[in-house]
Symmetry: D2
Subunit: 355 residues, 4 copies
């Protein structure tokens, strides 16, 4: 008898949604993509050609899709604004959930997903922070676990996107939650991973500019921002987010310990080619996030599938997804208000008057 | 109706055979692994666990396997000595063939495969030189095609394996064809790719030592060898093969043109991690060939499958596989005999007396 | 007639003082070291052997030294606490002054040196920020000037020293001014160079930890600190100072513009050697600041000498030395107080109540 | 009393001659440049401005210069054709000699210098192979001595110059001795250093092309050449010389041992700057040999001076300079004749008939 495959549905067939669908269709041996949903006719047309012939049933209604008999799990790659609702609906249908980050830009909404998941402990509910599945980050994490750098104390991490002059990100800023929630959430999640998810912020500072997209200001957003989170256990993380890179995607992390340091992607590169020419030696850089992390998404799909089929532990706690957004939102608040934020040692906000 | 998938059988389930089987099973969406063969009970036991449950029929006889109804193609990953025979048998059963390199260490045998393939032009018969499917080599090739380095004139390429102190390679030398046929054949194939497969050698020199495996001498082989092939069109390729690397696999190529240069893998690395410690900054290196080229093998499986299903052109001419072995064997002869080999401008060997 | 050489005296023969003395003695062709002073008998004994034989008159009194007839300039490499006083005394004797950074850790004292220099505009008075003389920083600066990165908008810079477990830096913290004044002053000076010395801070945040030297706390200092300075012209600089590096000196700067980025020393290295071994590929890193910047100090000596002899402009404005300490002190205040500091658009401090 | 300084004269004030003169004038504290010679009025005019004011007596006759009273040493940077003669004349005047490489392109002439030096063992006579004074090569050498790579077995070394389209090198080929004598002599000298200067060649092969300077053929020279030297002690060196680099000077060496490998300059770079732009990340490369090795020439001048003043050992045996040219000339012969060269185990040439 053939081993059981996890029957998965894909919600959302936009840029990331398509990738999730194809990863579950083609690169997740233990999973079977059986359904897909998009409200968008163009996306459905694409699915008719690329998914339907391989046995994937298509839907223009999320509710209908999650009622498909035999379905076991859903991967949610729709717009952020519906992530939480769809995740909760899926759980109500007894489905495992892999949800694109963030659960929501609103912390209360994030928490509602965690509450829903707590009630169904047999379900696997994961918010996909792709960098946790990247071979390099995994290697760095293992080296930290082996004690190679002593006690991790400082974490520097940046998410820097290639400049998109189209103006897309101005419109996007209206609902993205701001650079720290949209971009730095990855860096914050890495912080929770490397420093421990029980860390408690002590104070938060952030500063930003609009160097290439001045219209972002109308949404209280910035195209370059720097933030510092100091934790109560004597650790600091500092972040840089930018949408202004000329050269491509540059997501770099340093974990600095008392006895050594690890860097991930300090030398960004597209591949192993160097081009030697009259101007020097040049290497190219991935243009996009997916160019850097494609294989991490594949591993994410496979590990999620394995956890569902084998009833094993998920590689990321769902509560981290809330905590990362909480810290991101605080950074964003510090950025917009121009004020530092302080917390006591159990994590309660200290108002300025009390300082 | 579901799109047709190519029904593939895997011959040989040793180290590379297993990888081919799994790549066709799991990472080649348009193919379906339907059969696998090994004469070895241990390998068959592995297959019983990892292949059979997914619908793969197992065989202990190659002849029987290729008679499986509906089979369309075979991937041959058995011992080199049976590559050619199995390839020809498959063609006789009207099967497409993807054969691990080399077709044979014997040139006449190689040619017999080409002859057999010529008689069945509707079949896709390819010898898998994996580096041709590597993203970095592809990028370098495209840059050459775009004229970025002018006219390619010098090619330096090396295949350097991590030292294996087990003595395995001494026994292996008895039938491997020697370092230039076994290892440099990749570098020679790259030469045919970058310089054009119509190039004609003019003279060949080679020198070798046994630095760590003196017992290789009994098989006329070497653990480190350097060779130069000068071509009639004013180009030179030079090669270094070694089985003595302490640090891991280091397969590096430089293509030097009249107006620029491209390097591939001049800075070998396992991933994007750097470890900073009291002794400096260290990056790790893949331990094995597959660590460097895994995704190239996946692409090879996919492109072969596409060529079969769509009746499209193969990415490598089968005749190149013969020519690469011919040049490799000549390098090996120059190495063992301590004599330079010369050719006239139509590629006929010039004997020493004629010089 | 031989061209005139600048007659220079060296004040202070400690670690840096010795280097300055030897650079003026041996590596500054247009200068002549004619005198040297140290209050320390051990240092004077060293000078008796290494300086006196080459025509350098030795002194145990600074006042006496600067009265030496014919003297034209003094290089001050004594303890920071006497820099300013000695600089002013030298000016009163009509001597040009090259003073090690900082002029003082006290801003009023810094300003008194600037005032003294303003009264004697014919004198060349420079505070030596060595990185301005480094070939790599110069190259980066020229590339910015050529417009290669558009408008510089974000500057990241770090001064990270190899961990010294001796406890020296605890004692040193008593009078160093703190990490931001002692270490980041270089990074701040670079900011003034790359962003323009007329930039006005808008807000300042800083956070620090004591990861390896907890005793630093008694002097209100930290072994790792991160700070952000936001400027009124839409630019941000952020800094990291550490005394905890296992691998050596790592002083890295990134200048990020609207159309490109420049990094300086993103890949620290001692020299051009890579060592390939079973653990990977390792390159070493300079252990100390001087290992990285030795040739910058030599160029500093030569350019200062040229400015004195040719009555040319100095490469660094003296007022920058004050401004760098001002910003450093504000970062240190923000670090110690745990409060953000704000400035209006003419640079006046805004108190919290006004916010 | 001031310590004695070595009184040095500089012969030849062409490109390299000027550099030697200035290095002895300004960057060799224990030496004093007292005289300089050039037959060329333009060069003498330069010297009138840059050397004479600093107490350097100028000559248009080498013979006259070496008679200057008090002179102790001469640095010879004239045309190769007069190196040997001038070196011998200097020795006859009891002068120490630092001679630019090569002593001569003719081996007998080289040997005559060695003979002359043997008769005056109190004189320091050195042929300046600059790479021996480079910090990186020194570091690599020390690491080999420490046993870090086991037994050095394979050496790959290249001297690759930036392409000079002016045609200068065609005229130069008339008397340069050919690429292997002119360029690879450095790589051969490194081989003698890393493998031991008692190594005996076993066989030599070489191949070359004229890719960008076809006119070189009339002087039996090549713009790209590859050669292999196999030694009797089980070691191999292989070389690549090119005058065709688009990107600048690229002199790279790998020393491959039984337990590790060292590379020197595997990643050529002008400085520590990386430029990130829409096309990727670019670093520049030194345009010329002196850009890479300037500080090595300074160290060479200083170490030669110290050996003369202190009667210490020279860092390079003079006989190596002969051996390096011998091997270079054999490579050039193999290149031009298209024939391999063989030697018996005491280094006697074996003619083809004997093979």
């Amino acid at each position: 008898m053939a081993p059981q495959k996890l029957k998965v549905a894909a919600a959302g067939l936009g840029r990331m949604g398509k990738r999730h669908a194809l990863n579950f269709l083609n690169r997740t041996p233990r999973a079977e993509l059986v359904a897909a949903f998009s409200p968008d006719p163009t996306e459905l047309a694409w699915a008719k050609q690329h998914l339907e012939p391989y046995g994937v049933t298509l839907y223009d209604s999320y509710e209908k899709m999650i009622q498909q008999p035999g379905l076991q799990a859903v991967v949610i790659g729709t717009a952020t604004s519906v992530h939480a609702e769809e995740a909760i609906q899926a759980m109500e249908k007894n489905l495992h959930v892999l949800c694109e980050k963030p659960l929501s830009t609103n912390i209360e909404v994030c928490k509602s997903v965690v509450e829903a998941a707590k009630k169904r402990p047999h379900l696997k509910v994961m918010c996909g922070f792709s960098r946790r599945f990247d071979d390099s980050y995994r290697d760095a994490y293992n080296k930290v676990e082996q004690g190679l750098i002593g006690r991790p104390s400082i974490l520097r991490s940046q998410t820097c996107d290639k400049h998109d002059p189209s103006g897309f990100f101005v419109a996007y800023a209206a609902w993205s939650g701001g650079v720290f929630v949209d971009m730095a959430v990855h860096d914050i999640d890495l912080t929770l991973w490397f420093f421990g998810d029980d860390i408690i912020p002590k104070s938060i500072s952030a500063h930003g500019i609009t160097a290439v997209q001045p219209d972002l200001r109308k949404y209280n957003d910035y195209d370059n921002a720097v933030g510092i989170v100091e934790f109560h256990n004597g650790k600091i993380a500092y972040y840089y987010c930018s949408r202004m890179m000329a050269h491509g995607q540059e997501d770099t992390t340093e974990i600095i310990g008392t006895e050594g340091k690890l860097s991930v992607n300090a030398n960004p590169q597209q591949n192993f080619v160097n081009y030697y020419h009259a101007g020097g030696i040049t290497r190219e850089v991935p243009a996009h996030y997916y160019g850097r992390f494609e294989m991490a998404f594949v591993k994410e799909a496979n590990e999620f599938t394995a956890a569902c089929l084998d009833n094993g532990p998920l590689p990321i706690k769902l509560t981290n997804a809330v905590k990362a957004v909480e810290i991101g939102a605080a950074l964003q608040e510090a950025l917009v208000s121009g004020k530092q934020i302080h917390y006591d040692d159990v994590g309660r906000r200290i108002e300025k008057a009390q300082l």
